[in-house]
C-alpha cells in the first residue's frame, strides 16, 4: 500500500477530492470527538485533459430517492445483466444498450480508473453562451478608454456564436440594441427605480414579437436559428457594430458638481441585466460582466450618498451600525444574486477604483453565482487588463475553461450524511435521505447550483457520520460518496461529470492510529479555514476567532488568525469581501498560499530556498520573493538595494549580481502568468513604502518591544502590537493544560 500522502495526492489528481480524514471513524460519537469533521474539498471541474468524453448518458439507479450513477464500486452480475447500487443496494437491470456487457467487455464507467468520468449529453439543442457587459461610464476618460479597449479585445476572444449584450450606466441605465444600421438605439431607464422582470420585459418590448420579427416568422420556422433578440446578438453578426458602439462610449455627460460623487445607478443596471437574461435566456449559461469605477450612489443598491463629504462605510461604521445604506443595498444585491442563480446566470464584478466600490454589499452576487470578483485601482492597470483577458483562457481543445449553469449533487452511503457545502454555490433545496439535520455552510440539501465554474472552483463539503455506536460496520466496509456535476460546457453541450470515491471505515477505539495517519493536515486546515471564514461572514468577528482558537491550534491557525480573511483591521469591508471571495473558491494549494504566504529567499549563499515566514528571514543581503496569492512581492534587502542603486548590475564584472536580481523576477513572472486573478506585482526594497506588505505578513518574532533582547544581527524588527508566534504558542500551551479550556 502506498503511503497516505501519496494516496492523497493521487486522489486529488484523479478526482479533485481531498478529505480531511481518509479513514473514517465508524460512529457518530467518535466522529464528533475528532473535532475536525469528515469533510472534503472538491474541485468539480478538475482539469483532466486525459479524460475521454463519454458520448452516452449515465445509467442511473432506478430507486427514485437514489438515482445514483453506475460506478466502478457497484457490484455487477454480468450473467443476469444486473448491477447493485452501492449507495442504496437496489438491484438494477442494465439498459438494452448494455446487452453486450461481460467481464471482459466492460463499459468505461465500471473501470476503476474512471472513478471520475464525464458524460456528454446528446439530447437537447446546443445552448448559446451569453455575455452581457454591464459598463459603468462614470469614470475618468483614461480609465474608460482602457476599459473600452479591453472590452473590444474581449470580443475577439469570444466564440463567434456567443451572444453578447451591452448595458451601460451612469446617472441612467442604457440597454443597447445591437445590430441597428444607421442609428444606434438604446433603451434608457431611470437609475433610481427598480423594475421587476415583468415590467422590464414590457418596457424592452420583449413580451411580443416585434413587427420585424413577426414578418420573418415563416422563415424562422423553416430554419430554427439561434435564439437571439435585439439586445443579445451573436458576436459574428455585430462584431463591428459593437466595436464601434464601444468606441463611441462617452463618459456620463451629466454634470457632477464640486463635492459630489457621480450618480451611478449600479443597482438598477445590475437589476436590468439580471432581468433581461431572466426573461430571455433562463437556465442557459450566461455571464453578466459588470465593470464599475466606483460605488453605486443612487437608486436601489446604493452604498453611499453622492456627497463626497460623507465617506463610504468602514468596518468601524458597520460595527457601530452606522452604515445606513448597507442593509438595504445588501438585500437588493442578495435578491439579484438569488434571481441570477436561479436561472444559472453568473455575475462578475470588475471593480476598479481607488476607493471602495461596495463589494461588501455586492459580494453575494459573485459568491452565489460563481462569478469573479476582481478588484484593482484602475482599468488602466495590467492587473485588470491581464486578469480580464485570463477570464477567456482556453484549454487545449480551444474551449473556454469556464463552464456554466452547473449543479452539483452528492450521494452518500447510508452511514454518512451531508451537512452542507461552502463555496460559490447556492442551495437547490433538494431534501433527501442523505441530507443531515446538522447544517454546516449551505446545508439542508444534497444539490447545489454553481452557476459559474472553472477548473479551480473548489467547494468544501462537510459530512456527518451518522452510524450509531451500537451498529458497528463490518470489517472492510467502505463509505462512498458520489459527486454528480451537471454543467453547460462552453461549447454549448450539456455535460455530466461523475466522481465516485470511497473511504474505509475504522473503529476509533481500536484503530485510532489508522485514522490519525489518514489525517490530511492541509485539507483539514483549509476546510476549517473555510468554515471560519464562512462564520466570519455571517457572525461577529471576535467570536469567530474565539471559536477557532478553541477548535484547532497549530501554526497554520496563527496565520489564519492574522489573515485578512478573518481580521478586518486595516482592511476595508470591500477588501475583506474580495479576499474572502477568492478564498472561498480556490483550490487547496492556492488557499494554502493565501493563508500562509510562501517566502523564497535568493542570495549569493546558494540556490533559492523557501524560508520561514518570519521577520528573522528578512536579511540585508537577501532578495525575498513573497507570494500571498493576491500579491507577488520582491523585496531587496538593505545591502542588495544599495548595490542595485549603485548600478552594479549594469557592470559586466558583476553579472552574477544581475542574475541574482533577475532570478526572483523570472520566478514571479511564472506565477503571474498562471494565476487568476492576476496578483498585484510589487517590487520594493528595504525601507520602501511597499515593504509594508511583507512586514505585515511575516511572523513578528522581532518587534520594537523585544528587538534588543533578541539577536541583534538577523532579521528586521516589525513595528506591531501583534503577538509573535512564540508568544501565541506559549499562550496556547498554557491554555491547553489549564482545566478551564
Amino acid at each position: 500500500m502506498t503511503t497516505f500522502p501519496e494516496f492523497i495526492q493521487q486522489n486529488e489528481d484523479r478526482d479533485g477530492v481531498r478529505f480531511s480524514w481518509n479513514v473514517w471513524p465508524s460512529s457518530r460519537l467518535e466522529a464528533t470527538r475528532m473535532v475536525v469533521p469528515v469533510a472534503s474539498l472538491f474541485t468539480p471541474l478538475k482539469e483532466r485533459p486525459d479524460l475521454p468524453p463519454i458520448q452516452y448518458e449515465p445509467v442511473l439507479c432506478s430507486r427514485a430517492t437514489c438515482r445514483a450513477v453506475l460506478n466502478p464500486l457497484c457490484q455487477v452480475d454480468y450473467r443476469a445483466k444486473l448491477w447493485a447500487c452501492n449507495f442504496c443496494y437496489q438491484r438494477n437491470q442494465f439498459p438494452s444498450t448494455y446487452a453486450g456487457i461481460s467481464e471482459v467487455n466492460q463499459p468505461a464507467e465500471l473501470l476503476p480508473q474512471f472513478s471520475t468520468i464525464e458524460y456528454v449529453v446528446q439530447r437537447g439543442h446546443q445552448m448559446p453562451l451569453n455575455f452581457l457587459y454591464v459598463v459603468d461610464t462614470c469614470m475618468e476618460d483614461e480609465d474608460l478608454q482602457a476599459l473600452k479597449e479591453s472590452l473590444q479585445m474581449s470580443l475577439s476572444l469570444l466564440p463567434p456564436t456567443a451572444l453578447v449584450g451591452l448595458i451601460t450606466f451612469g446617472r441612467m441605465v442604457q440597454v443597447h440594441e445591437l445590430g441597428c444600421e444607421g442609428i444606434s438605439k438604446s433603451y434608457v431607464f431611470r437609475g433610481t427605480k427598480d423594475l421587476s422582470a415583468k415590467q422590464l420585459q414590457e418596457m424592452l418590448g420583449l413580451t411580443k414579437p416585434t413587427a420585424a420579427q413577426a414578418g420573418r416568422g415563416q422563415q424562422q420556422q423553416q430554419q430554427p436559428a439561434l435564439p437571439s433578440n435585439r439586445f443579445l446578438q451573436p458576436v459574428q453578426k455585430i462584431d463591428m457594430n459593437l466595436t464601434d458602439l464601444l468606441g463611441e462610449l462617452q463618459r456620463d455627460p451629466w454634470p457632477v458638481t464640486q463635492g459630489k460623487r457621480s450618480l451611478r445607478s449600479l443597482g438598477v443596471a445590475m437589476s436590468i441585466a439580471v432581468g433581461l437574461l431572466e426573461c430571455t435566456f433562463p437556465n442557459t449559461g450566461a455571464r453578466i460582466m459588470t465593470f464599475i469605477g466606483g460605488p453605486a450612489t443612487q437608486g436601489p443598491g446604493m452604498v453611499v450618498g453622492d456627497e463626497l463629504k460623507t465617506p463610504i462605510r468602514s468596518w468601524h461604521d458597520i460595527e457601530k451600525d452606522n452604515a445606513k445604506f448597507m442593509k438595504k443595498a445588501t438585500k437588493h444585491y442578495e435578491a439579484l444574486a438569488g434571481r441570477a442563480a436561479a436561472n444559472g446566470h453568473i455575475i462578475d464584478i470588475y471593480a476598479c477604483a481607488l476607493d471602495q466600490t461596495g463589494l461588501a454589499e455586492m459580494k453575494c452576487c459573485t459568491n452565489h453565482t460563481g462569478g469573479y470578483m476582481v478588484m484593482a485601482d484602475s482599468f488602466n492597470t495590467s492587473l485588470f487588463k491581464q486578469t480580464f483577458q485570463r477570464v477567456f483562457t482556453k484549454d487545449v481543445q480551444g474551449a473556454f475553461k469556464m463552464a456554466f449553469a452547473g449543479t452539483l449533487e452528492i450521494k452518500t452511503s447510508r452511514e454518512i450524511k451531508i451537512s452542507g457545502a461552502i463555496g460559490p454555490c447556492v442551495s437547490l433545496n433538494a431534501k433527501g435521505p442523505s441530507v443531515s439535520e446538522n447544517e454546516i455552510g449551505t446545508g439542508g440539501t444534497c444539490q447545489w447550483k454553481i452557476c459559474g465554474l472553472d477548473p479551480n472552483t473548489t467547494l468544501a463539503v462537510y459530512f456527518e457520520v451518522v452510524n450509531q455506536h451500537n451498529a458497528p460496520i463490518p470489517q472492510g466496509g467502505r463509505g462512498a460518496v458520489q459527486y454528480v456535476t451537471q454543467y453547460q460546457h462552453s461549447s454549448g453541450q450539456r455535460r455530466i461529470r461523475v466522481t465516485t470515491v470511497a473511504r474505509n471505515w475504522a473503529d476509533a477505539q481500536t484503530q485510532i492510529q489508522n485514522i490519525a495517519a489518514s489525517f490530511d493536515q492541509e485539507a483539514a486546515a483549509i476546510l476549517m479555514a473555510r468554515l471560519a471564514v464562512h462564520r466570519a461572514e455571517s457572525e461577529e468577528g471576535p467570536d469567530v476567532l474565539r471559536w477557532l482558537d478553541r477548535q484547532l491550534i497549530r501554526l497554520f491557525m496563527f496565520h489564519l488568525r492574522r489573515s485578512p480573511f478573518l481580521q478586518v483591521f486595516n482592511n476595508s469591508p470591500d477588501e475583506s469581501s474580495y479576499y474572502r471571495h477568492h478564498f472561498m473558491r480556490q483550490d487547496l494549494t492556492q488557499s494554502l498560499i493565501m493563508i500562509q504566504p510562501i517566502l523564497y529567499a535568493y542570495s549569493f549563499n546558494g540556490p533559492p530556498e523557501p524560508v520561514l515566514l518570519d521577520s528573522s528571514s528578512i536579511l540585508p543581503d537577501r532578495i525575498l520573493l513573497m507570494d500571498t496569492f493576491f500579491q507577488i512581492l520582491i523585496y531587496h534587502g538593505e545591502t542588495v538595494a544599495q548595490w542595485r542603486k549603485a548600478g552594479y548590475q549594469d557592470m559586466p564584472e558583476y553579472e552574477n549580481f544581475r542574475h541574482l536580481l533577475q532570478a526572483p523576477v523570472d520566478d514571479a513572472q511564472e506565477i503571474l502568468h498562471t494565476r487568476f486573478p492576476m496578483p498585484r506585482y510589487i517590487d520594493t526594497e528595504h525601507g520602501g513604502s511597499q515593504a509594508r506588505f511583507l512586514l505585515s505578513k511575516v511572523n513578528p518574532s522581532q518587534t520594537h518591544n523585544n528587538m534588543y533582547a533578541w539577536g541583534q544581527e538577523s532579521g528586521a524588527p516589525i513595528l506591531t502590537d501583534d503577538v509573535s508566534l512564540q508568544v501565541f504558542m506559549d499562550h496556547l500551551k498554557k491554555l491547553a493544560v489549564s482545566s478551564a479550556a
Binding site: M172, Q174, E177, C180, G182, I183, S184, K185, S186, Y187, V188, F189, R190, K193, L195, E202, M203, L204, G205, A211, A212, A214, G215, D244, E248, Q250, P253, W254, P255
Partner: protein, 925 residues
C-alpha cells in the same frame, strides 16, 4: 360647420354618397332625412357621417337665392312634401330682388326710414321696423307661408358691407395718427397706415370703447363691455416701424415708485425735470441723475422727441438681470420636435412629411438679425407608447436613439447632444430625419401616450435650463397606460343638455397641472393634431392653450391632399417671431382696473398674465371694471408691459401705452365704440362661459346684454320716436348681425354634424384671436370675383353673406380666416371658367382641386394673387375649396352664409334683428 372636416371631405367627393343626396334634398325640401343617420364617429369609411344634417328643426327653409335647378326636380320628387312647403315661386321672386309682396304695406314706417337722411349725425340713423311683424327665432316654426307676409327687405337693414366700405372710404386714405386721445381707429377691414405719436397702434391694442364712462354706474347702465384686445407682438406692415429698443442702462427701465408703471408719455415731469408724476397713480418719483433733462416752457422735456419712451405709444426696454428668472441671463431658447410614430401617424404620411420638411425648415428658425444664424437649438423626440429621444451631437457619426419606456415617470435620458445647434449638427440631423420614416415604416403600434411627451419636452428644457417651444405632432387619443391617459368620452347626446359644458372641460386634471409646470419653465407647446377619430381636443388642448401655444387640427389627414396646408402652417409656426417665458401686466389709471383676461395663457395670481410663449398672432383680451371715478380731463390710461425673452435670448420689456377719453354723457360712449372689438370680447366671454354654464344660458345672457346696450342707447341717447322703431347707435348698428353670428357659431349653437373635437378646437382657437381674425371668422368675406377688375389693385366690393346675394352666373371667393371657398354658379360664363379653371364647362370643373391651375391669363393671375394675399394676411393657411353650385359640398359653404338661417336652427339676420327688437322693447317697456 368646421373647416377641419374638409380634409376628410376632400377625397371621396367623386363617389356617390347617399348621405349627401339625402341632405340636399332635406335642405331644400326641409324634410326629415329618411332613415337613420350613420352614427357619428363610426369607423371611418367615408365622409358620410360627418356632414349629416341635424335633426329636422321643423322650420321653413332659408330664403334661397337660386331656384332648384331643373335637374333637381327629379330628385325632389322623391319627397312629395317638399314641394308643397317650399314652393319655388316666391324664391324666384326673391332672386330678382324684387320687394316682397306686401312688405311695403305691412311696414309703413319703412319708407320713412329710407327717406330719412342721417340728419342726427354723428348720432346714428334710427331704423324703424314694425315690431308686430318681427318673428323671433323661437317663432320660426310657423309655417313659411304665413311668414312671407312679414318679410323685411334685407337691403333695408344695416349692411356690414356698407359699413366696411364706408369706413374704407372715410378712413383708409390718410394715416391714422395715434397722438390724439380717444380716437376710434379705422375698422380692421380697412387698410390704413399708423403713425405712432404717443398711443399704441390699433394693431397692438384695440378697445371696445374709446370714450369710457367716468363712473361705474354709467358703465353698468350702458352694459357696454370695457375691454382692450391686446396683441403685444403683432407684426406690423412693412411701411410701419416696429417698436424702438430703449436701453436705460444697468439700473434698468425707469419706473414709478409706487405702481411700477414704466416711463411713458403720460409721465408728467415737474420741478424742472427733477421729478415726475405718474399718470397712472399720481405718485411722484425722483428722476435718476443719469436720466435728468431740462424742461422746455411747456413743461415737456427737451429730449422728449429723442426718447421713444417719452413720445411713442409702443417701445421696448432692454431688461436687466433683475428681470430674469433666478437673476440669471437666460439661455437661448430651444425648439423640440416631438413626432408621433404610431401606426396612424405613419400611415397617413404625417411622419414622412414632417421629417422631410424639417430638413429645410430648420434653416429658417426665427432670428432677430437676418444675417446671423439663429441661436435657437433644436431637439427631436419620436414616440408611440414609449418615447425615443435622439442624440444628434455634431461629433457623432450617426444619430443615437434612446428609448424611454418608463412613461410613468418621465425623464430625459441624455443631456449632451439632445439640444443642438442646427448648423453644427446638420449632417447628423439629416441622417436622423432620413431614417425616422424608415425606422417606423412597419410599425404596428397603435397606442400612444401624450402626457409623458410633454413632460419629456419640459424635462429637456429644464435640464438645459432654457425656455422653448415644443412642436407636438400627434395622431390619436392617448389610451396607452401612462400619466394623462384618456378614455373616449365622446357622447353627442350631451349636446344641448346641462352637461354639455363637461365636453369642453378637460377629462383629467393632469394636464392643467402639467401646464402649470410648463409655464414655470417657459415651455410653450404647439400641438398639431392628425386625428381620424375622437382625440379629445378639449383635454389635449389644455397645455397648449395655457402656455401660449397653438393647436392645429387636420382631421382625416391625407399626405398628398393636405400637406400643403399643414406645411404652410408648420412653416409659419416655426418661423414666426415670438417671445419666450413672457409675463404681461396691464396697469391702468386709478379708477379702473383690469379684472378679467381671455386668451392662451396661465395666471397664477390676478394680475400677471404668464405666457410660456407669446407669438406675433397671440392676442389677449382684457376686461376693465371701475373701482372708482375717472376724470374727463385725464381720461383713462392703460399700459401693457410684456417681459419676455427674445428668440436670440435677450430679455426685453415691450410696453404699449393707450389713452382713451372719459365721458359723463352716454351719447359720447355710444359714439366711440368699436363693434368688432366688442364682438371679439363677447365671443371670448361666451366661449369661456360654456365651460361652466349650459350653452343656452350663455346665449341668453349674450342676447340680454346686447339688448340692454341697445335699449340703454334707445332710452338715453336716441331722439324720441315711436316705440315701435328700432334705433341703433351708428357705430353699433352691426352689433345685432355680428352677435347673431356669434350665437349661431358652432360653439354656441352646434349642428348635429359638428364633432365635439371641432367645437373644442374652435373654442380654443377663438380665445386667442385678434379682432381682424374674429371678424372674418364670424362674418366671412365674400368677394364676387367675377366682377374682378384685372387692371387695378382694387378688390371688388364684397357682398353680404347671404345666399340671396349670390348670382347664378357668378363666381365668389369666401374667406373665413380658416378656409377659402370658391363658389361657382351654375350659370357662370364659359369664358370665366376657362380663365379660372381652364375648364370649358361648369360640369368639367374638378371639385376636388385644392389649388387653382396656373393659367397664363391676367384673370387667373389676379385671382391667384388675391388668394395668396388673403392667405398672407392670416396666421393659418387657408385651404382652398372649389364649391360648385348644387354640389354636395355647397352645404359646407352655405354654413358660412351667416346672414341666412342655417340648418341647425340658427336664425337669419332678419329674424334675429326682429328678435332683438322685441327684447329691446321689452326692456324699454
Amino acid at each position: 360647420m368646421n373647416v377641419n372636416q374638409q380634409p376628410h371631405m376632400a377625397s371621396p367627393y367623386g363617389q356617390p354618397q347617399s348621405g349627401y343626396q339625402g341632405y340636399q334634398q332635406t335642405g331644400y325640401g326641409n324634410q326629415h332625412v329618411p332613415g337613420g343617420y350613420p352614427t357619428p364617429y363610426a369607423p371611418y369609411n367615408g365622409p358620410a357621417s360627418t356632414y349629416q344634417p341635424g335633426p329636422p328643426q321643423g322650420m321653413r327653409g332659408p330664403p334661397t337665392s337660386g331656384p332648384p335647378p331643373v335637374s333637381g326636380t327629379q330628385a325632389y320628387s322623391q319627397f312629395g312634401q317638399g314641394d308643397t312647403q317650399n314652393g319655388p315661386p316666391p324664391m324666384a321672386a326673391l332672386q330678382q330682388r324684387g320687394p316682397q309682396p306686401g312688405y311695403v304695406g305691412q311696414y309703413p314706417g319703412q319708407q320713412s326710414y329710407v327717406a330719412q337722411p342721417p340728419a342726427q349725425a354723428p348720432a346714428p340713423a334710427p331704423k324703424r321696423l314694425d315690431p308686430d311683424s318681427i318673428p323671433s327665432p323661437q317663432a320660426s316654426d310657423i309655417p313659411p307661408v304665413q311668414k312671407t307676409r312679414h318679410r323685411i327687405d334685407p337691403d333695408a337693414i344695416p349692411s356690414p358691407i356698407q359699413v366696411i366700405e364706408d369706413d374704407k372710404l372715410n378712413k383708409g386714405n390718410e394715416p391714422f395718427v395715434t397722438g390724439v386721445r380717444g380716437q376710434v381707429p379705422p375698422l380692421v377691414t380697412t387698410k390704413f397706415q399708423v403713425k405712432d405719436q404717443g398711443n399704441a397702434s390699433p394693431r397692438f391694442i384695440r378697445c371696445t370703447a374709446y370714450n369710457m364712462p367716468c363712473t361705474s354706474d354709467m358703465a353698468k347702465q350702458s352694459q357696454v363691455p370695457l375691454a382692450a384686445v391686446i396683441k403685444p407682438l403683432a407684426t406690423l406692415p412693412l411701411d410701419e416701424n416696429g417698436p424702438y429698443i430703449v436701453d436705460h442702462g444697468e439700473s434698468g427701465p425707469i419706473r414709478c415708485n409706487r405702481c411700477k408703471a414704466y416711463m411713458c408719455p403720460y409721465m408728467q415731469f415737474i420741478e424742472g425735470g427733477r421729478r415726475f408724476q405718474c399718470g397712472f397713480c399720481s405718485c411722484v418719483t425722483e428722476v435718476p441723475p443719469h436720466y435728468f433733462q431740462h424742461l422746455d416752457h411747456t413743461g415737456k422735456r427737451v429730449d422728449c422727441y429723442d426718447r421713444p419712451e417719452l413720445s411713442m405709444g409702443s417701445y421696448e426696454f432692454l431688461a436687466t438681470v433683475d428681470y430674469c428668472k433666478n437673476n440669471k441671463i437666460p439661455q437661448p431658447p430651444a425648439f423640440i420636435f416631438l413626432i408621433d410614430v404610431s401606426y396612424n401617424a405613419v400611415k397617413n404620411g404625417m411622419v414622412a412629411i414632417v421629417c422631410q420638411e424639417l430638413k429645410t425648415l430648420l434653416d429658417y428658425l426665427p432670428r432677430e438679425n437676418p444675417n446671423v444664424a439663429s441661436n435657437i437649438r433644436v431637439g427631436f423626440v419620436t414616440y408611440n407608447k414609449v418615447l425615443h429621444f435622439y442624440n444628434v451631437k455634431a461629433s457623432l457619426a450617426q444619430p443615437q436613439m434612446m428609448v424611454v419606456s418608463d412613461v410613468a415617470d418621465m425623464f430625459v435620458p441624455l443631456l449632451d447632444g439632445f439640444l443642438v445647434n442646427v448648423a453644427e449638427s446638420r449632417v447628423v440631423i439629416e441622417s436622423l430625419l432620413d431614417q425616422i420614416p424608415d425606422m417606423f415604416a412597419d410599425t404596428r403600434e397603435t397606442e400612444t401616450v401624450f402626457g409623458p411627451v410633454i413632460q419629456a419636452g419640459l424635462e429637456a428644457l429644464k435640464a438645459a435650463d432654457c425656455a422653448g417651444k415644443l412642436f407636438v405632432f400627434h395622431s390619436s387619443l392617448p389610451i396607452a397606460e401612462a400619466p394623462g391617459k384618456l378614455k373616449n368620452r365622446e357622447d353627442k347626446k350631451l349636446v344641448g343638455t346641462d352637461k354639455e359644458k363637461s365636453l369642453f372641460q378637460a377629462q383629467v386634471s393632469f394636464y392643467s397641472n402639467l401646464a402649470k409646470e410648463c409655464v414655470a419653465q417657459g415651455c410653450c407647446v404647439d400641438l398639431f393634431l392628425f386625428p381620424n377619430q375622437y382625440v379629445d381636443v378639449a383635454t389635449l388642448g389644455v397645455v397648449p392653450t395655457s402656455t401660449g401655444g397653438s393647436i392645429y387640427k387636420y382631421t382625416y389627414f391625407q399626405g398628398q391632399a393636405d400637406q400643403e396646408r399643414f406645411l404652410n402652417d408648420l412653416r409659419k409656426d416655426v418661423q414666426k417671431q415670438m417671445g419666450f417665458d413672457a409675463v404681461m401686466r396691464v396697469r391702468t389709471s386709478t379708477g379702473i382696473r383690469p379684472t378679467d383676461f381671455f386668451g392662451s395663457f396661465y395666471m397664477s395670481n390676478t394680475t400677471d398674465v404668464e405666457l410660456a410663449g407669446l407669438d406675433c398672432d397671440k392676442t389677449v383680451t382684457v376686461e376693465f371694471k371701475h373701482d372708482d371715478k375717472l376724470s374727463e380731463e385725464t381720461g383713462a390710461l392703460m399700459q401693457c408691459a410684456v417681459l419676455y425673452t427674445s428668440c436670440s435670448g435677450q430679455r426685453r420689456l415691450r410696453v404699449h401705452n393707450m389713452a382713451v377719453n372719459c365721458c359723463t354723457q352716454l351719447a359720447d360712449l355710444y359714439r366711440n365704440c368699436e363693434t368688432d372689438t366688442i364682438i371679439n370680447y363677447f365671443a371670448k366671454y361666451a366661449y369661456r362661459g360654456v365651460l361652466n354654464n349650459p350653452t343656452k344660458n350663455v346665449r341668453d345672457s349674450l342676447i340680454n346684454q346686447c339688448a340692454q346696450i341697445l335699449a340703454c342707447y334707445r332710452k338715453n341717447c336716441a331722439s324720441p320716436s315711436s316705440a315701435g322703431q328700432l334705433i341703433l347707435p351708428e357705430c353699433m348698428k352691426l352689433l345685432p348681425v355680428y352677435l347673431n353670428c356669434v350665437l349661431k357659431s358652432d360653439i354656441l349653437h352646434p349642428g348635429a354634424d359638428i364633432s365635439l373635437d371641432d367645437r373644442a378646437y374652435l373654442r380654443q382657437l377663438v380665445s386667442a384671436m385678434d379682432v381682424a381674425e374674429s371678424h372674418a371668422f364670424f362674418y366671412p368675406r365674400l368677394l364676387p370675383v367675377h366682377k374682378l377688375n384685372v387692371e387695378g389693385n382694387a378688390l371688388p366690393v364684397a357682398v353680404r353673406d347671404s345666399e340671396e346675394r349670390l348670382s347664378k352666373g357668378g363666381v365668389y371667393l369666401l374667406e373665413t380666416g380658416l378656409n377659402l371657398f370658391l363658389w361657382v354658379g351654375a350659370n357662370a360664363q364659359q369664358e370665366l371658367l376657362q380663365n379660372i379653371f381652364g375648364a370649358p364647362a361648369f360640369s368639367q370643373i374638378d371639385p376636388n382641386m385644392t389649388s387653382l391651375p396656373i393659367l397664363d391669363n391676367p384673370y387667373s393671375k389676379r385671382l391667384r394673387e388675391i388668394i395668396e394675399s388673403f392667405r398672407a394676411q392670416r396666421s393659418r393657411y387657408m385651404k382652398l375649396m372649389v364649391v360648385k353650385q348644387e354640389d354636395k359640398l355647397e352645404l359646407i359653404f352655405k354654413h358660412f352664409l351667416v346672414e341666412d338661417k342655417n340648418n341647425s336652427g340658427g336664425a337669419s339676420y332678419v329674424d334675429f334683428l326682429c328678435h332683438m327688437h322685441k327684447e329691446i322693447r321689452q326692456l324699454l317697456s
